[in-house]
């Protein structure tokens, strides 16, 4: 088993006619993902990589029985694309890859999301993958392998690094979710941990956080209170100087007590989560926990 993505996932790609949309549609198809449609206004009736394009997500979902969407549209239109996907009947998973979505747009998307049963992963995320089954997003499929380690991470490329370390020593993954590092995201650590906890085929979870915000601290408390499945952690940004903004919005050290690497690491350790000093060490911990 797996979470969010399985054999029945039927994907519509929003923005399939764009450069990245087309490239990653091909990559997803090659990986075996059931990409059944694209959606681009005004481009209905065309085909991209053999996939039929519709003018609206609703049409794509209706005609091709799609139940998930991956969003590759430019930042200015990404929020609208998320609203469209959340609105479309049948779509219950939306994966927003787009980087650079204005925060206020996302606040509105997040507000609407609370009223739906849809899962939104991202934005500014690499997507998610159930190895050997399907990937939704831009993750490089070849580094993943099927297994029983769940993975959730705020950082795209750090996810790949940790997966690489896991895969190299034969620790396959049930599902890996890149939740994205933006200030406002759909699925957060706790949502993902909840899903992994409920999945009988996920036997351990690797959780990669970074400085900024308090999501890791809250997730640590959640793990301590609600999880039986063991978790190992990693926190990026130990050496980041206070007050400096390191890349995306999430990665800023506020200088006060919370949000620092120390605060996150000790919250995790206090709740029984071993934290690796290097990505390699995360794999060590997972090996121990299984």
């Amino acid at each position: 088993m797996s979470v969010l993505v399985d054999e029945d996932t039927r994907v519509v790609v929003q923005g399939i006619t764009g450069g990245e949309g087309k490239f990653h549609t091909e990559q997803m198809l090659e990986y075996g993902t059931n990409v059944v449609a694209g959606a681009v206004p005004g481009r209905g009736g065309q085909e991209v990589a053999g996939v039929p394009v519709y003018d609206t997500v609703q049409q794509a979902a209706r005609e091709e029985d799609a139940n998930a969407s991956v969003v590759f549209v430019p930042p200015a239109f990404a929020a609208d694309a998320c609203f469209e996907a959340m609105d479309a009947k049948g779509i219950d998973l939306v994966v927003a890859i787009t980087e650079g979505v204005p925060t206020q747009d996302m606040a509105r998307v997040y507000r609407k999301l609370q009223e739906t049963d849809t899962y939104l992963v991202g934005p500014n995320c690499p997507g998610l993958i159930t190895p050997g089954v399907a990937k939704l997003g831009i993750l490089p499929g070849n580094i993943f392998s099927s297994g029983n380690v769940g993975l959730v991470s705020r950082s795209g490329t750090l996810t790949y690094q940790v997966v690489d370390n896991l895969t190299e020593r034969g620790l396959g993954q049930s599902t890996a979710i890149g939740i994205g590092g933006d200030p406002i995201i759909g699925t957060d650590f706790i949502d993902a941990l909840e899903l992994f906890e409920a999945d009988p085929d996920t036997h351990a979870v690797a959780m990669c956080g970074e400085i900024g915000g308090e999501d890791e601290e809250e997730a640590a408390r959640y793990i301590g209170e609600h999880m039986d499945t063991p978790v190992a952690g990693f926190i990026a940004g130990r050496t980041a100087p206070p007050g400096k903004r390191m890349g995306h919005a999430g990665a800023i050290v506020s200088g006060s007590g919370t949000g620092t690497a120390e605060s996150k690491i000790s919250a995790l350790e206090d709740n029984g989560v071993p934290v690796g000093d290097t990505p390699e060490e995360v794999a060590d911990h997972i090996e121990d926990l299984l």
Partner: protein, 382 residues
């Protein structure tokens, strides 16, 4: 993206927030003329993005032409916590009986904007937030509805603002929220909002941080932001190139893709006994020319003794990265600093084949690449 005080004040004043009379000056003479125009007392305020400007000597209250000249002379050109002061705002000094804090920001945890009012204005509000959190009244705004008029009144009254000025303070807050909303604000604040003895409210400072991701639809502010750009040559270059870049004090240059992985690379440099010279994230889907620009940046940093280039591809494609590296390095007769490259992920193998191993050192794991770069740096220092 943060506006200078004088820019933010202009934006606030245009939106109807009362602000003191003021003029911008770039020379001592201009500053003195401005002070004479406005009439004493005036405040002379360094226009740099530094907290605690006043304490650090960046704000001076003057009562005469002589004092104005002296103060302008002292402040213009000074180095304030590492920032060079090239502009001062000469501003009418307001006689106040009370100082409030009024601001709007995004509460990440809630995913909602929050309006804040405190009667403990005029001081560092972060300190108030930590030491006496109840002294700041907070009202979360529903981003679907925007701020209801009652919410402005509610937070003002909950903060304990005097009834005589409550309506005017609520009106300033309403304007700040509107600006925050219309102009893609990250933080929009007035601190202090001064209350005079005849119950007038005046914004004595102005903070306006804009969401950098929204600048595409805020052309006017984007232009102001260019004017407001600060930092050393390299940081300005990074801005031009559109890189997330932070200069640090070490000697191992670091280039990577994705904030988390770049931070991890910094952490590993430290872990293996080296010192990171910078944080440089080329972002997702970086094309060849961006890669070349990134190398150019790190080479331009005199502190850098070696470079570790760590790309794990998702959107970013290994072959394009490799081409960029080759292109950038082929321009040199001699490679200025040793470069260790580690590529993984999408099209990584194609990239490895493309890489010119005469110009770079190729490693296959992150740990090996970082260790090798640390070693190179140590060799140079030795």
């Amino acid at each position: 993206m943060r506006l200078h005080e004088y820019q933010a004040k202009q934006v606030f004043a245009d939106a109807g927030v009362p602000t003191p009379a003021s003029q911008l000056a770039e020379t001592v003479d201009e500053a003195v003329d401005a002070a004479e125009d406005i009439g004493y007392p005036v405040a002379i305020k360094a226009q740099v993005h530094v907290g605690g400007r006043g304490k650090a000597g960046g704000i001076k209250l003057v009562e005469s032409k002589e004092e104005a000249r002296e103060a302008a002379d002292a402040i213009l050109g000074m180095d304030l916590k590492g920032y060079h002061v090239s502009k001062v705002l000469v501003e009418e000094a307001v006689d106040f009986v009370n100082e409030l804090y009024v601001g709007v920001t995004m509460d990440r945890g809630e995913g909602k904007p929050v309006a804040m009012v405190s009667t403990k204005g005029g001081v560092n509000i972060e300190e108030v937030a930590e030491e006496d959190p109840d002294a700041i009244a907070r009202e979360h705004i529903d981003p679907a509805f925007g701020m209801h008029p009652f919410q402005a009144r509610k937070v003002v009254y909950e903060a304990g603002v005097d009834r005589d000025v409550a309506n005017d303070v609520a009106s300033v807050l309403t304007t700040l929220y509107q600006l925050w909303d219309d102009r893609d604000g990250a933080d929009v604040e007035v601190n202090p909002l001064m209350i005079t003895s005849d119950d007038e409210v005046i914004a004595a400072d102005a903070v306006m941080n804009i969401d950098g991701d929204a600048l595409f639809r805020q052309p006017e502010l984007a232009e102001m932001g260019e004017e407001a750009a600060e930092g050393d040559e390299l940081e300005q270059k990074a801005d031009e190139y559109g890189f997330d870049y932070v200069r640090l004090s070490g000697n191992v240059g670091i280039i990577g893709n994705g904030a988390g992985l770049v931070m991890t690379t910094l952490d590993l440099v430290d872990y293996y006994g080296g010192k990171p010279a910078n944080f440089l994230d080329v972002g997702g889907g970086a094309k060849a020319d961006r890669i070349a620009n990134a190398l150019d940046m790190v080479f331009s940093d005199d502190n850098v003794d070696s470079v570790v280039f760590n790309i794990f591809g998702g959107i970013t494609r290994g072959d394009e990265v490799a081409q960029g590296i080759n292109q950038a390095l082929e321009q040199f007769d001699e490679i200025p600093k040793p470069v260790v490259v580690r590529l993984a992920g999408t099209n990584a193998e194609e990239g490895m084949e493309i890489l010119n191993e005469e110009l770079v050192t190729v490693e296959y794991t992150l740990e090996d690449a970082v260790q090798r770069a640390v070693e190179f740096a140590q060799e140079v220092e030795a």
